[in-house]
């Protein structure tokens, strides 16, 4: 466990801009994520949700603006996925977190293999630890899934569970979930919501991108609404019911 340091936010963005050529994808984003906070990120398709988390997790470099992780500024250009991992920030993408044809144990450790100094992997150790994650962290017991199963044989909810479990195993302080329930059945969605609750219980923070307002309303401490690359409002789920929230977002679209 990471010892409690004296910082208020895990990640803070200040005046972040992102251009793709002439397209202004992120406009002057100011956002901070506190410890043990579940933040729901909502907004229409193309609002910039995915771009925002990619900038936050080192996948994309912002065109301008400052990024702070635990109140320490990150030098532009040196931020990367690897560095985000080192800073205990993990991302779970809807369909890009796990490699289909590879066994689970490889998926747990890829990019962070337990290897000797020549780069050869300690397969036995990796499988052992993977087995522990599978049973203790994720709670897959008797589901017919072992560390040798390939991802292609798992259901959508199980995949999200594996990816979230991997993130928790690496002691992430912040877990970013990019539409984890898209294309899932009802029972599978329940599992994912359960996984998000586990994140909160374990003292971690989470950014939860979601299309389905009911799902995100249920678990989030705070909702951040994005529209055309801008943060337009921050809402506490206590103050708005799901229908009110829906009305609000529709109104936002019509004010274009």
């Amino acid at each position: 466990m990471t010892p409690a340091h004296d910082f208020a936010s895990i990640v803070r963005l200040e005046g972040v801009q992102k251009y793709f050529g002439a397209v202004h994808a992120l406009r002057d984003i100011n956002l901070s994520i506190a410890r043990n906070e579940i933040v729901g990120l909502i907004g229409d398709n193309g609002a910039g949700k995915s771009t925002l988390i990619k900038v936050m997790t080192g996948v994309l470099e912002p065109t301008a603006g400052r990024i702070f992780v635990r109140e320490r500024e990150i030098q532009p250009g040196e931020y990367s996925v690897r560095m985000a991992h080192d800073l205990s920030i993990e991302t779970v993408y809807q369909d890009k977190s796990l490699a289909e044809k590879q066994p689970l144990w490889r998926n747990f450790f890829v990019g962070r293999q337990i290897a000797n100094r020549f780069g050869f992997i300690d397969i036995k150790r990796e499988k052992e630890v993977a087995r522990k994650i599978l049973i203790d962290t994720i709670g897959f017991r008797g589901a017919g899934i072992t560390v040798d199963s390939t991802v292609a044989n798992l259901s959508g909810g199980e995949r999200q569970g594996i990816a979230i479990g991997r993130a928790m195993h690496y002691n992430a302080d912040l877990i970013v979930l990019d539409e984890p329930t898209a294309a899932l059945g009802v029972a599978e969605v329940r599992k994912v919501v359960e996984f998000v609750r586990r994140i909160k219980q374990s003292g971690r923070a989470c950014i939860y991108i979601e299309h389905n307002l009911a799902h995100v309303h249920e678990v989030a401490d705070r909702l951040v609404v994005l529209d055309r690359g801008r943060v337009v409002s921050e809402i506490s789920p206590k103050d708005m019911t799901v229908p009110e929230l829906t009305e609000y977002l529709i109104a936002l679209q019509h004010n274009a």
Partner: protein, 357 residues
Amino acid sequence: MAQRSGESILQRFEALPIIIVFVLLLLLFMYRAPEVFLAPYIYTTFLSTLPPLILLATGLTFVIGAGEIDLSFPSIIAFSGFVFAVLFKEYDLGWIAVVAGLASGILVGFINGVIVAKVGIPSFMTTLGTQFFWAGMATVLSGGKSYALRGVEKSSVWQVIVGRPFASASTAWLQEASIQALWTAIIVGFLWLVLNRHRFGEHTLFIGDSNDVSRVVGIDVDREKIKIFTLMGFLAACAAIMLTLENKNFFGDQGQGYLLTAIASVLIGGTSIFGGQATIIGTLFGCFIIGMVEAGLVAAGLTGAWVRTVQGLIFLVAIIFYMYADEPQRRRALFANLRSFGRFGGIRTSEEGGVRR
């Protein structure tokens, strides 16, 4: 949908289906052409003729496993072979010629990798282009000449790389056993370890599975791709040098025959044409099958043109087989296609025009 839990017998024994096919084919050839396949000579001949194919196919296993393709290796064989031959013969540089030959292959592979990874041109196009470029370069520089390396077998280069360690043995077939089989076995064994147990091998398979996933788990996709193509260049250069020394001659076309056979060996072995799944043991047996079919058909009195035809056929059958064996969604799509073909194409196989399963 099988083997949701744990490893099936097919997974535990890498490339088991292809090994079974190999054994069956071998038995068939032994039965049909016992004078060839029950005598030891053909197997010692394989020791000297198969290594270049095996080295190329092993490199391609990485390339195809990463979801890419390299069509330029025949020209690397021409170019590195030329660099080696000219330095060895005209400048009498011995081992330096070997090093220069290897370096030229590494360079060509590296350039391929940079064009694919950094410029972003699909590897199929890139290596089609570089294939013509380096083959043309070799022809221009050599003036279309071949280099006969007469007396090369007395040099230490020849002795070490393609020598005959048992030349003084009393049995005739043993005298012909060549050392390049040993070097090839060591290289292939090492690369098996790399593919299955090294970070680089794991990254190769993840990249073949999905570039996007690989990026988000922190793999430097561009760098690994450059490494993969560079490895291919190195192995093609090894093959070039072995081939030139074994033939005691360099000629510009010496790599051309390997284009189909090397790719076929990889795919017959069970490496997925879609990437993400690769087996070096499978590739090795793929090479054995390709080599054996060649020898078997020639022994049966067929011409080289027939050999190519049959190899092309095996190649197609193998990829179609693996495509539908490995990928359930493709299998379903095929059946769906057949059903609609039945409906609209006039072939009615049942009341609904469906295909009975």
